[in-house]
């Protein structure tokens, strides 16, 4: 068991409020995708969210949502996100979300196993990636940094 786990936060801007009929398929999928995540190999933890649906609305902008989760490794998260039923859901994202433009919408970072990330800390990681590009403290699937070596205390 590694001493570090992989945290991820991703964000999207909704085309319509979650109770709008145009968002019904996205909302229906949330439960399925959360259940799929919960039983996926390497899943550690996710933020249940405002309505228990896994999404958290930004305080200043209700159309901006986040999902936040922790995994044993990048390979585990990749298998869930891109090698499962979740990919078809992701493929349809333009039906429900505005494009992100050049702003990073997903960030990865390592945290000691057993720790749980806070929403504020996680949004700060996203800001850090946007400001500095990929670093060991905030990176993407295209530039994965290895877990820190365990330091003797």
């Amino acid at each position: 068991m590694s001493a570090f786990h992989l945290a991820q936060i991703n964000t999207a801007r909704l085309r319509a409020p979650l109770d709008d009929p145009s968002m019904a398929e996205f909302v229906a999928g949330l439960t399925l995708m959360n259940e799929l995540a919960d039983r996926s190999p390497g899943f550690v933890w996710r933020l249940a969210g405002d309505d228990g649906d896994g999404t958290i609305a930004a305080p200043a902008d209700p159309s901006r949502i986040y999902t936040l989760s922790v995994w044993e490794s990048p390979a585990h998260l990749r298998a869930y996100a891109y090698q499962s039923q979740h990919l078809d859901y992701l493929r349809r994202r333009r039906e429900w979300f505005h494009p992100n433009g050049p702003e990073a919408a997903l960030v990865l970072w390592w945290l000691p196993a057993g720790e749980i990330p806070t929403l504020d800390e996680s949004i700060a990681r996203l800001d850090r990636l946007r400001a500095d590009g990929p670093t060991p403290e905030a990176f993407t699937f295209r530039d994965v940094f290895p877990a820190p070596a365990s330091v003797a205390r």
Partner: protein, 249 residues
């Protein structure tokens, strides 16, 4: 991002010249067409050559980085008397491409995919892919490529073969476009190769969505879209699209 090293990296040429030998190329194809790892005996039998010669060529392909090896007991037995594990061969995951003079289409593809992702222009991409697929499917280019390759796509897999002419046509169409189709149960086709693998790993929703539109277009162009349906069916180790026979009842 592809680095400039790729532009003038001719090391890949060494790997590819290992395929210049005709026997070795056929040995590679037997492994590539196999549903799983393949032993030297199967290759020797398929090529009508001796086991030692088959092993010689297979090991040359391993040295060139085109094949990789694993060991397993083929009989399914274990314990004393089960015999030594056999050396088995499968395709190495690395890709090799050589352009002379240097061309950087991979970099161009990455830049284009990233731009489409940023703009959220996947619908336009999918429409282009669907149109392209329809044209290619109607032109029957897939079938010609397979004939030129010297045989039906799943000769030698030993698995479930296509059941009828229509199914054979769909297999040939997909094989001709590099998807390496295999029958996976009645009325179901899985694609063992993703022609866009590296790009798909970097931009999964964009490239896999494009791929689904392309395969759907191929079926339409070939007049198979009422009999077969392509859908997203992501799983580790194969193309994210699979096909199933439409229930016509």
């Amino acid at each position: 991002m592809t680095t400039s090293k790729d532009l003038d990296d001719l090391d890949d040429l060494d790997a590819l010249t290992a395929l210049a030998d005709g026997v070795r190329r056929r040995a590679y194809r037997v492994v590539a067409d196999g549903a799983g790892p393949v032993g030297r005996d199967e290759v020797a039998e398929a090529l009508g050559i001796g086991r030692t010669l088959a092993a010689f060529h297979l090991d040359k392909l391993v040295a060139a980085g085109l094949l990789a090896t694993s060991y397993a007991r083929r009989s399914g037995r274990s314990g004393p008397g089960a015999g030594r594990p056999a050396k088995l061969y499968h395709l190495a995951p690395a890709e090799h491409a050589v352009s002379v003079p240097p061309r950087a289409y991979r970099t161009a593809a990455e830049l284009l995919a990233e731009t489409l992702d940023e703009l959220g222009a996947e619908n336009a991409l999918n429409e282009v892919a669907r149109r392209h697929g329809r044209r290619a499917g109607a032109a029957g280019g897939g079938q010609r490529a397979v004939v030129a390759d010297g045989g039906p796509p799943d000769a030698g897999t030993g698995g479930d073969g296509p059941r009828d002419a229509g199914e054979q046509g769909v297999h040939a169409l997909l094989a001709g476009h590099g998807y390496a189709p295999v029958a996976a149960g009645p009325g179901r086709i899985e694609l063992r190769n993703c022609p866009f693998h590296r790009l798909a790993e970097q931009f999964p929703p964009v490239v896999c969505g494009m791929n689904l539109a392309l395969v759907s277009g191929l079926l339409t162009g070939a007049g198979q879209d009422t009999a077969w349906t392509a859908r997203m069916d992501a799983a580790p180790g194969r193309c994210c699209v699979s096909l199933s026979k439409t229930n016509l009842d």
